[in-house]
Amino acid sequence: MTQIATEAPREAPRRRTARAYALSAIGPATVTAGIVWALLQPYRLIILHPRDQGFWWLFVEPQLLVILVGALFHFLVVPGLLDDLGEEEEVEQ
């Protein structure tokens, strides 16, 4: 052990391939679709005008569900998949 700082060798950044870009775009594209739908039909987003609405109208908001699916996919599925894709492509090279 020493108190002299040494620089750790940096890992070469992985080059992102078309497949990686396509994979990374799926979630954001889905979220964008949900946002565009909400902007085009704000009257269908019942949470914006919740007065006198029943539970199901407030709970099941299709535009928000689309956004939720895209976001969950992007943050829960894509990161590990990108790692595995990168490893696979390194092996192929």
Binding site: W57, L65, L85
Partner: protein, 193 residues
Amino acid sequence: MPPPEHVHWLFATGFLALGLFLVAEAVVGREVWRKRRWRAYLWPSTMFAMGLAMWPVMVFFTTSTLHMLAHGAWAEVMMVAGAAELGLASGKLRSPLWRLAIVSAFVVTGVALLVHEQNDWFFQRSAFLHHLLGWTFLAFAIFPLGRVIRPRSTLFASGFALAFVVVAVILFCDRDVAPVFGHLSPLAGTPHR
């Protein structure tokens, strides 16, 4: 009880999730997708769960016998297809012919949709969407069938994934009583939203 359109939207959400999983699998390839065991189980278990969730729909939305039979048929074929794909993913099932379960699910779903929709295309929006869904399932059945014959084909994998996204979009368009392209039969009732 949720209105029927809400049930359609909840299932649309499930189909959208299935579509995204399968699109991702088509993009990276089956080997990369299956590098982590949980991912291999992801879409079959989602489909199985959706089949389970179809049973309460069958039990509680009893507007007609045909409705009940159709929803029961969907519940069964979704569970069978999900279970077959789970068995293949875990290695407990080995014959690729088990993939025909999802083909039969597409065909049974398509036929049940067309048979249980008693009104014509332009009666109202949900009638139109039921006809459209039925023919969509029957037309897209070519992709899961191609997946049985050529499991590594990107074309068939992509078409299979696209089928679920298209079905999700159609289900999200559903409304209980609403016009379709300006058509609404006076027998359908009053559009409420």
